[in-house]
Amino acid sequence: MSSTARKKRQSYAARNRPGRKRANRLVRIRDLEFSHEGRFGDAATLFKGVNLDVYRGQVVAILGPSGTGKTTLLKLIGGQLSPAQGSIEVDGEALSMLKRKGLYQLRKRIGMLFQSGALLTDMTVFENVAFPVREHTDLPEVMIQDLVRMKLEAVGLRGAESLLPAELSGGMARRVALARAIALDPMMVLYDEPFTGQDPISMGVLIKLIRELNRTLRLTSVVVSHDVQETLSIADYVYLLAEGEVIGKGTPDQIRHAKSPRVQQFLRGEPDGPVPFHYPAEDFATQLLGGIE
């Protein structure tokens, strides 16, 4: 990255530092509690009192081990799930107060990149990107074509417009999904595990795209991931989730130098530590000897 670009990025992030302005806050989560209903009707607590803020123009990373509810958090921000306790505000609107119509109006301003891409399998790449535009606008066909090709050009896949999703590699599918997510020029894009299963080149392309699109389109990005180094390289602010709570937060540098053993265990990828390797169970020896008189 050139020094000018770095300065621009730093100044942009500085303008949006947490605590600067309430109006600058795009997502505000307070005292979030959420439980999943298990197979046998039992409830598994996923979040217990999570607080989180996302400021406009930032790339905010939400890191954490698998199963900590990172994807669920994105679904809560998108209003696809409702919290048991606490409040979620997006662009100043409390999601719990919104009816379906209001929620859909809000979602028009939010793009989401699903882990699987979630492309419509019976439509070509072009039709997939055109889908939200056709659904929400009355633009003439010529304009839709230009718009879709601009978005596909931005992710480097203009030449693949006539392919079906089944003909795309995993990385290409995610880039098409990204083009679709930005088709309506949203204020915020939610990325669900964008780097999972990507080869180094595809990963590099996605990292560059997320950062560049955030800057050029003046987006706000929330990236959920467990790929530590890749995510820290593009994030302005990081939240680290584990065991239902935020165990660390700060700029990437602050996170790298955090003293918390739980944060360090995750960053270094250590299999055992404060976050245990073993799923809770009764004592192994007792269980093995349980059947012996």
Partner: protein, 259 residues
């Protein structure tokens, strides 16, 4: 004993909960009918996928059912010297009962299972969630056109099944068994009533189209988003839709022809 009772109560509660979800789903999808009728192209696409792709099985089944009816009917009627009434027997059997019921069972097996699998897989691959996040209601955009197409397709498929069944019966009766051509058609024309017979068949096929398509779409939408979940839902569609058709057929027949 108490745990068994508790288990049964939970099962009962689960059934009522599913029934409730099914009703809410129906209300939700019917809420999109007005919008989708203005975008009728979406319904036409599904009419092709659901109706046209079911044509082959309906045509072949209709022909063979009519031929079997012709053979069996002839063997019975010839003992009474009434083989010239074979046209009436074939036509009434098909128009009143076999046409609507067999076409609906074939539709549940062919198109119903396909609808459940398609919707279930769309759910499993997050396509429906993706639409929700694009502020597009997946029930209105995906389910309602399929519902309308299924609802329109089954009466048409039933009509095709019945007509081909009559021709199958004719083919066996007249050229093969030597029943008089004029008697076959004239007795049929005299005894098959438009209001009593044809209209009742049409009403049945409309009701079956509504119920089978509703069950198929709900099972897909309510499927557990895993390969096993989609497979179980697809099986449930065929079983529940078939039982619903047979049960409703009895109720409708009792209402229209009973007492």
């Amino acid at each position: 004993m108490i745990s068994l009772l508790h288990h049964w109560l939970l099962q009962l509660f689960s059934i009522f909960r599913r029934l409730g979800r099914g009703q809410l789903f129906l209300i939700h999808l019917l809420g999109g009918v007005g919008v989708i009728l203005l975008r009728f192209r979406l319904v036409i696409q599904q009419l092709y996928a659901i109706g046209v792709h079911s044509l082959l099985i309906v045509i072949v089944a209709g022909l063979f059912v009519g031929m079997v009816l012709g053979l069996q009917g002839y063997n019975t009627l010839v003992d009474f010297g009434a083989e010239e009434s074979l046209g009436v027997l074939v036509a009434l059997s098909l128009v009143r009962e076999l046409g609507p019921v067999v076409a609906a069972l074939l539709y549940a097996g062919r198109a119903g299972s396909a609808l459940t699998a398609e919707i279930g897989l769309m759910k499993a691959t997050e396509q429906l969630s993706g639409m929700e996040m694009m502020a597009v209601d997946p029930v209105h955009r995906i389910i309602t056109p399929r519902f309308l197409a299924g609802f329109l397709s089954l009466p048409l498929l039933t009509a095709i099944f019945t007509v081909l069944g009559v021709f199958g019966g004719y083919f066996v009766a007249v050229p093969l068994l030597g029943v008089d051509d004029g008697a076959f058609w004239s007795q049929m024309q005299a005894r098959v009533d438009f209001y009593d017979d044809i209209q009742s068949g049409v009403i049945k096929s409309v009701v079956f189209g509504f119920v089978v398509t509703w069950i198929a779409l709900f099972e897909g939408y309510d499927a557990t988003p895993t390969s096993e979940g989609v497979s179980r839902s697809t099986t449930r569609t065929v079983v529940h839709a078939s039982l619903a058709v047979l049960g409703l057929d009895f109720i409708l027949t009792a209402l229209m022809f009973g007492a």
